[in-house]
Each structure stands twice: as structure tokens, then as C-alpha cells.
């Protein structure tokens, strides 16, 4: 079992660091052999988001437990939702903290049962996260069905295949959220008399193009990358929607 511990130095006898965002080293320790790998903080030490970045590196090294003095509730919740154990309140050196954890940690469940319960817990949490917005979308779509007439929809989606695909792509790019919401909206558009081409464009762009998350993507992967990827995906939405409807009609 690999345990990630933030430390003030890259050493098992170094003190456990106060918080993830200010630690300089994250030690990924194999609790069986007490050998360890070190994730070093990048040069821009202390800036926001550094903790998340270091935790991602520790995950890729196989850490399954995060043992720390303090961890932000948001990061702890995300880790737990992904099946990782988070233990706070660790004191002393890294070696002492791991010893404390191994003595106090609950007895391990049989591996197969632990995996099953972790997978079930994670799936239920993913569903619970998805449900409030889905409920909101379903009830909002119900309202729109009652209050927006087919004539109003027809004023935007005129029945011209390329135009409908373009409008669908615009809506899909602006709106964001869980993809299941795009299915509900796409289906409501169909029931409102809008063409399948428009629904296909909404579904394609909902995840492929993200105006809302564009700044975050640009910050992580570069402005040119983010603009090119989103722009190209938007441009492709129209031919993809047209070909989908053509081929689906031919197949069915």
C-alpha cells in the first residue's frame, strides 16, 4: 500500500507539512518496505492550485491513502469520491505518522469486498452529484414545453439542415453540465418539432466545446491549444450532425 504524506523535506524523518498548498515535498511511501518516491513542488511554490497538482502526481505514482495534518475539505471530498482514503491530523515525522496510521487504521477488508464497496460507493456518489442538476433540467424543460410554443422554436430552428445544426451547436457550446442533461434537452427539442440534426449538434458540442470552461482549459494547456480545440470541435459539429442523421436514417 502506498501512502502520500506532505513533508517539509524529502526525508522519512522530516516533519509532516502543515497544508498541501504550502508543502515543498509530497512523499509517496510504500508502507511495506518504507521506500519512497518524491513529488517536488514546482518552482512557483505557494501559488493556489499547487496542492491539486501535487496530489495528481501522487495518484499517478499509485498512492491510495493521503495522510496529512490538514487537507482542504473540497480536495478531501474529491479524493474520497474517487475511492482514495484521506486521513488528517497526522503529527511528527513522516515515519511516525505512517506508524501511527498503520496502528490506528481500521483493519483492512478482504480485497474483493473492499473493491466492490469502493466501486459501489463511488458510483452512487457520481449519481448523487448528477441528480440535482438533472432534476432541475427535467423540470425546466417541462416548463419550456408548456410555455414555449412550437411556433417559437420554429422561428429559430427553421428546418434548414445547416442552419439548425449551427443553432444546435451554439446552444450546446454555451450550455454546460452533465452530458445526460444534453440528452433530455435534445429529446425535448425533437418533441418540440425541431430536427434531429439540431439535437445531434447539441449532443456533440455539449462536451466537445466548452465556452464556460475555456479559461480553465487555456490556463492548463495554453490559450492557443484551447482556442484551436474548441474552435475546430465547433466547426466539426455541423458536418458531424448532418452525417449522423444521414447515416442513422440509412441504417434504421
Amino acid at each position: 500500500m502506498k501512502i502520500a504524506v506532505p513533508a517539509v523535506e524529502a526525508d522519512l524523518d522530516a516533519e509532516v507539512a502543515g497544508t498541501m498548498s504550502t508543502c515543498r515535498y509530497l512523499l509517496v511511501v510504500d508502507a511495506g518496505t518504507m521506500t519512497f518516491e518524491v513529488v517536488r513542488a514546482p518552482s512557483e511554490w505557494g501559488r493556489p492550485g499547487l496542492g491539486v497538482q501535487m496530489v495528481s502526481r501522487a495518484l499517478s505514482l499509485g498512492a491510495m491513502v493521503f495522510l496529512t495534518r490538514h487537507l482542504s475539505p473540497r480536495l478531501a471530498e474529491t479524493l474520497r469520491a474517487n475511492g482514495f482514503a484521506v486521513v488528517t491530523g497526522a503529527e511528527g515525522t513522516v515515519r511516525e505518522a505512517i506508524g501511527w496510521y498503520l496502528r490506528c487504521a481500521p483493519a483492512p477488508e478482504p480485497a474483493a469486498r473492499a473493491r466492490l464497496s469502493a466501486a459501489l460507493g463511488r458510483s452512487l456518489r457520481q449519481l448523487v452529484v448528477m441528480v440535482p442538476t438533472l432534476l432541475g433540467v427535467v423540470f425546466l424543460v417541462g416548463l419550456l414545453r408548456s410555455f414555449i410554443s412550437k411556433d417559437t422554436l420554429a422561428a429559430v430552428f427553421t428546418g434548414h439542415a445547416v442552419g439548425d445544426a449551427a443553432w444546435g451547436a451554439v446552444f450546446g457550446s454555451i450550455l454546460a453540465g452533465h452530458p445526460v442533461n444534453s440528452y433530455v434537452i435534445g429529446r425535448a427539442l425533437l418533441e418540440g418539432g425541431v430536427s434531429l440534426v439540431a439535437a445531434a449538434a447539441v449532443l456533440y458540442t455539449w462536451v466537445s466545446v466548452g465556452l464556460v470552461q475555456l479559461p480553465a482549459e487555456a490556463s492548463a494547456l495554453g490559450t492557443r491549444f484551447a482556442l484551436a480545440r474548441n474552435g475546430l470541435a465547433f466547426a466539426l459539429a455541423i458536418p458531424v450532425a448532418l452525417i449522423t442523421v444521414l447515416l442513422a436514417g440509412w441504417l434504421s
Binding site: L120, L127, P132, G136, V141, F147, Y204, S208, G210, L236
Partner: protein, 164 residues
């Protein structure tokens, strides 16, 4: 948590307001929404089952190892598989993608990963239920091909930028 319920709470408030102003139409909207929810129940149960199977066998750490490994067709297949199998909000993936890019993962593989996230294996039952088999199969195949085309374009743009 508050942010999560803010949207459905706003919709509930809208219903209350409209129930006072246009009770007939609001009741019709409520019935229509209830009907949609009832229709969604079975596909969502199947989605939960698929989600459970994926969570049992696939971990984020495994997915991150797919990216940036292998050249040629193997690398493309791995980055496509990683995108299709990745779950959760995209924001959770950005730090990891940034890190992988700094470690040398190509713009092509990263863009291909992001494009393939539009294929949601656990939601396929819902998509089939709403749009039919033929539409679902064709759209998802085109999403994978579209991701490749987008990735090729992004790769070209980023390379051109570095060359200038």
C-alpha cells in the same frame, strides 16, 4: 452542496411563481416533467450498473498512465480509450493534463483525450432509449473520428505556433 442545489431550487421557485400566475400551464409542466422522470428511471438504473462496472475495473491513475504512452496507432488508441473511460467533471482532469503536458505528452494526445470524453459508455443506455440504436452508434463513432480530426488540427496549430 449549496451550489449543487441552487439550480433545482431556482427551478422550484419558478414553478411556485408560475403556479400563482398560470396554474393550468404550471400543472401541465409538472405532469410533463413527471412523465420524463418516470421514463428516465430504467435507463438511469442501467447507467448506474455500467458506472459500477467501470469504477470496479478502471481507476483515474490507470487512465493517466494511458496518456502520453506509445507512439503511432497504439498511442492514439490509448489516448482515445483514456478519454472514453474518464469520468467526473473536466475541471478535475486539468491539473493532471497540465502535468502530463509538462512531462512531454503531445498536444495531439491531449486534444484526442478531451474530444473522446464526449463518448460516455455508462450513458449509452439513456442515449439509445432517447434516440435509438442507429443514431447512438453513428454519433459515437463520429465523435471518436471527430476527436482525431480535432486533435490533428490542434497539433498543427500548436506546432505552427512553436515554429514561429
Amino acid at each position: 452542496m449549496l451550489r449543487r442545489v441552487a439550480f433545482p431550487a431556482s427551478v422550484a421557485a419558478l414553478y411556485l411563481a408560475l403556479a400563482c400566475l398560470r396554474p393550468g400551464q404550471a400543472a401541465h409542466a409538472l405532469r410533463s416533467s413527471g412523465h420524463t422522470l418516470a421514463q428516465l428511471a430504467i435507463p438511469l438504473c442501467i447507467a448506474l450498473t455500467v458506472m459500477f462496472v467501470l469504477n470496479l475495473f478502471v481507476r483515474p491513475a490507470h487512465i493517466s498512465r494511458f496518456l502520453g504512452k506509445g507512439a503511432g496507432l497504439r498511442g492514439i488508441a490509448l489516448s482515445s480509450a483514456a478519454g472514453i473511460l474518464s469520468m467526473g467533471p473536466i475541471y478535475a482532469w486539468y491539473p493532471l493534463l497540465k502535468d502530463l503536458r509538462e512531462k512531454g505528452a503531445s498536444a495531439f494526445h491531449l486534444a484526442n483525450f478531451l474530444g473522446n470524453r464526449a463518448v460516455k459508455p455508462f450513458l449509452l443506455p439513456v442515449m439509445v432509449f432517447y434516440f435509438g440504436w442507429a443514431f447512438t452508434v453513428v454519433l459515437n463513432v463520429l465523435i471518436v473520428l471527430g476527436a482525431l480530426a480535432t486533435a490533428a488540427g490542434v497539433s498543427l496549430v500548436v506546432r505552427t505556433n512553436r515554429g514561429v
